[in-house]
């Protein structure tokens, strides 16, 4: 064996660390409109290239081009823009609450707004999302009361989850929003199970799982793909590739030389890779996958290519591990700005309307915050009495004893 040199250990590194210039050379960006749109009943094997490219609709001039631009509803675009503005304003305000010490924790989705908002627009009532903590846009695109969301953030006396959950871990069955888990990946397979149940019952509802690029490495990602591959349930498996998982870049999830969408192909699951900062592409791809699922053609995996502009959470400081200018150098731009430019170019929207919408949402959020705060802020709201409820449907004897002991 003497003619073999010593082996070397390989640990992938991102193209830039603090002090380096941002470098996105590794991200190949095809022309908008260059990717075909196959029929929704296409076989995975017949559309493999869609996992390696990137579906994009908006070109640099802000025009909607190509097959994926066809049949998009203008109302959806207008509403989408407004919802994205609303999400961003909400995030800003909640960050402020955290800085004011009114809540313990917050997580923003800045730069990723198009994904949840655009996807939600393609769903119907009764469909169920299994979101991560960065899909507030799903809930903020519905009529779920914003006050209730803020009460959850504040863990106050009107918190719909009674203070039991970390802020941002909303739950609303009614609004197709599964209770968020702190454990990464676990809900992805539950989405598959939910969709299996819908198929078993001969229902028409579909499910959507959500996972981050880093979390694709988790155990249940594979369980999800295997079960989706075997039972072909009506589920959409969303991978939000925002390039970072706290301080680890996509390469630490094995996503440097293959795309996350390509993972699906080995399981005979069709996959789309989509510009996640292009609202039109998001909406078009979502519609395609929803139609496919609801027509009984089974699962689709979608990789949404985007960038986590914000810190991971209020506990995080990204300047410790990535170039400071990285987020502004991100080549796919700002989803709000891109959709706005498109609508302005088409004469459907104006700068004034934009300013006005921002102001309106700020007002809405300010009012909602005020109302929410009237029910208390962190540390002053939730009651210890509630602590022993709902561990089981009926409180067993030992919990009754413990509650008694606590004197509540």
């Amino acid at each position: 064996m003497s003619d073999y040199g010593p082996l070397k250990f390989h640990v992938p590194e991102p193209p830039g660390r603090p002090g380096d210039a941002p470098n996105f050379d590794g991200i190949e960006i095809p022309e908008a409109g260059s990717v075909r749109r196959p029929a929704v009943d296409s076989k995975a094997a017949d559309m493999k290239e869609l996992a390696s490219t990137m579906i994009r609709v908006l070109n640099t001039e802000g025009e909607a081009v190509g097959e994926w631009a066809e049949g998009l509803d203008d109302d959806v675009l207008l509403t989408g823009l407004k919802n994205m503005i609303r999400v961003r304003a909400y995030d800003e305000r909640m960050m402020t609450l955290q800085r004011q010490g009114k809540t313990s924790f917050y997580m923003k989705c800045t730069g990723e707004e198009a994904i949840a908002v655009g996807f939600r627009a393609a769903l119907s009532k009764g469909d169920m999302n299994f979101p991560t903590y960065r899909q507030q846009g799903l809930l903020l695109s519905t009529d779920y009361p914003m006050v209730d969301m803020i009460c959850q953030i504040l863990s106050n006396s009107r918190d719909p989850l009674k203070g039991r959950q970390l802020p941002i871990m909303y739950s609303s069955k009614e609004h197709g929003f599964f209770t968020i888990s702190g454990n990464l990946g676990t809900q992805f397979i539950q989405a598959v199970g939910w969709a299996m149940a819908s198929a078993i019952k001969g229902d028409t509802k579909i499910a959507a799982g959500w996972i981050g690029d880093g979390s694709t490495a988790a155990t249940d990602f594979h369980a999800s793909l295997v079960n989706a591959s075997v039972y072909k349930p009506p589920v959409i498996l969303n991978v939000v590739n925002n390039q970072w998982a706290i301080s680890s870049f996509r390469g630490i999830a094995g996503g440097d030389h293959a795309t996350f969408a390509e993972r699906a192909l080995g399981y005979d699951i069709p996959a789309l890779r989509v510009d996640g900062n292009d609202f039109l592409a998001v909406y078009a791809a979502s519609k395609w996958a929803v139609e496919r699922a609801r027509r009984g053609f089974g699962p689709t995996l979608i990789e949404w290519v985007t960038y986590r502009v914000a810190p991971h959470s209020t506990s995080d400081d990204p300047s410790q591990y990535r170039p400071k200018e990285e987020s502004s150098a991100w080549p796919l731009g700002d989803p709000i700005l891109r959709l706005k430019n498109h609508l302005v170019a088409r004469g459907m929207w104006s700068d004034e309307q934009q300013v006005q919408a921002e102001a309106e949402y700020n007002d809405e959020i300010r009012a909602a915050t005020k109302e929410a705060e009237s029910y208390g802020v962190m540390g002053s709201g939730a009651s210890p009495k509630d602590m022993f409820d709902d561990v089981y449907k009926e409180m067993p004897r030992h919990l009754r004893e413990q509650r008694q002991k606590m004197g509540v």
Binding site: T179, Q187, T219, V391
Partner: protein, 337 residues
């Protein structure tokens, strides 16, 4: 009344629920066409179709994870983990998800699922076909843990578990599948057709989750036990002539503490007996509670008899297994204490 083996009783429970309730589905590895490696689901796919009874990929986390999703949708999966020794890959789903859904969502979502799994040794299965991991579930708030010791209870408890709106881990002591087993492995095996507890009513009935049963009345010492060990305890009692009260717990969580306290206050002595590894086994919880609640009635310390703190060895199975000789010896020592 028909006599059934425990396998038949368990199958019958699923049959009854599949027949009564369209929302019940049954799946797991080799559970569909083949009917399970222990045959507990034999014939059910044929009767109810592949949408109700089917095979799963070999991914226990996936089995439980999909079941949780189905439960959230609103149906009632009853899934099988082929051996309790293989439940660990599903542990995260059970602990972090099944157990927490109701609580964390303020009952917006619930988890009406049943996880059946054969446990315990005595079949020469070696380290990975013999384990009794029940205490790992009793520590997890939000899970119910059930372990029947006979066909009648098995059917009634399994129906109750499937109907329960909370997640239940349902342990099936595999050494009891075909007949009661008292630990005398060198004697001919007996089977349920000759045992009164093999009498299983047809159709629907339930045994309440959370209720223990006094299996044998006695005055001098209480033996708290469950599963296979019920018959080992019985054998030890018969062989030593010690007038012990044997309590078959049937459900570990929620625990029927009233029945336990009543018995120990009567007898003044208590042995806790299980097959699982001693340290941090469920016997620890039982001993802790008994000494706390019955302190002034106890004439001697609560004694635990359990599997040794080693992996379950293959060839030394009968040295590992807490058989009637070991139980009898400890019983006698207790009575002298």
């Amino acid at each position: 009344m028909p006599r059934m083996s425990m396998i038949e009783a368990i199958r019958d429970a699923m049959d009854v629920k599949l027949g009564q309730d369209d929302d019940v589905v049954v799946y797991g590895e080799d559970v569909g066409y083949f009917g399970g490696v222990f045959r507990c689901t034999a014939g059910l796919q044929k009767k109810y179709g592949t949408s109700r009874v089917f095979d799963s990929p070999i991914n226990e986390s996936g089995i439980v994870g999909t079941a949780i999703g189905m439960g959230a949708y609103g149906i009632r999966p009853c899934v099988e983990i082929q051996f309790a020794d293989y439940i660990y890959p599903a542990y995260d789903q059970i602990v972090s998800e099944a157990a927490r859904l109701r609580y964390r969502s303020n009952k917006d979502f619930t988890c009406p699922i049943t996880i059946r799994t054969p446990c315990g040794g005595g079949i020469f299965g070696g380290q990975t076909h013999s384990q009794s991991p029940e205490s790992l579930f009793t520590h997890v708030s939000g899970i119910k843990t059930v372990i029947p010791s006979n066909p009648y209870d098995a059917k009634g408890l399994l129906i109750a578990s499937i109907e329960d709106d909370d997640p239940v881990v349902f342990f099936e002591p595999k050494r009891l599948y075909n007949g009661p087993f008292d630990g005398h492995h060198d004697r001919p095996a007996s089977n349920w057709s000759k045992h009164p507890l093999g009498e299983v009513p047809e159709g629907h009935y339930t045994v309440e989750i959370g209720k223990a049963k006094v299996f044998r009345e006695g005055a001098d010492v209480t033996i708290l036990t469950y599963g296979t060990m019920v018959y080992v305890a019985e054998a030890a009692v018969n062989e030593t002539g010690i007038n012990a009260e044997i309590v078959d717990l049937r459900t570990l969580m929620p625990l029927d503490i009233d029945t336990i306290v009543q018995s120990v206050e009567k007898t003044g002595r208590c042995m806790v007996l299980h097959e699982a590894t001693l340290t941090s086994g469920f016997g620890a919880e039982l001993a802790a509670q008994v000494q706390e609640r019955c302190f002034y009635h106890l004439e001697s310390p609560v004694v635990r008899v359990a599997g040794w703190d080693t992996p379950y060895p293959h060839a030394q199975e009968w040295d590992y297994f807490p058989g009637p000789a070991r139980v009898g010896k400890e019983l006698k020592a207790m009575m002298e204490a």
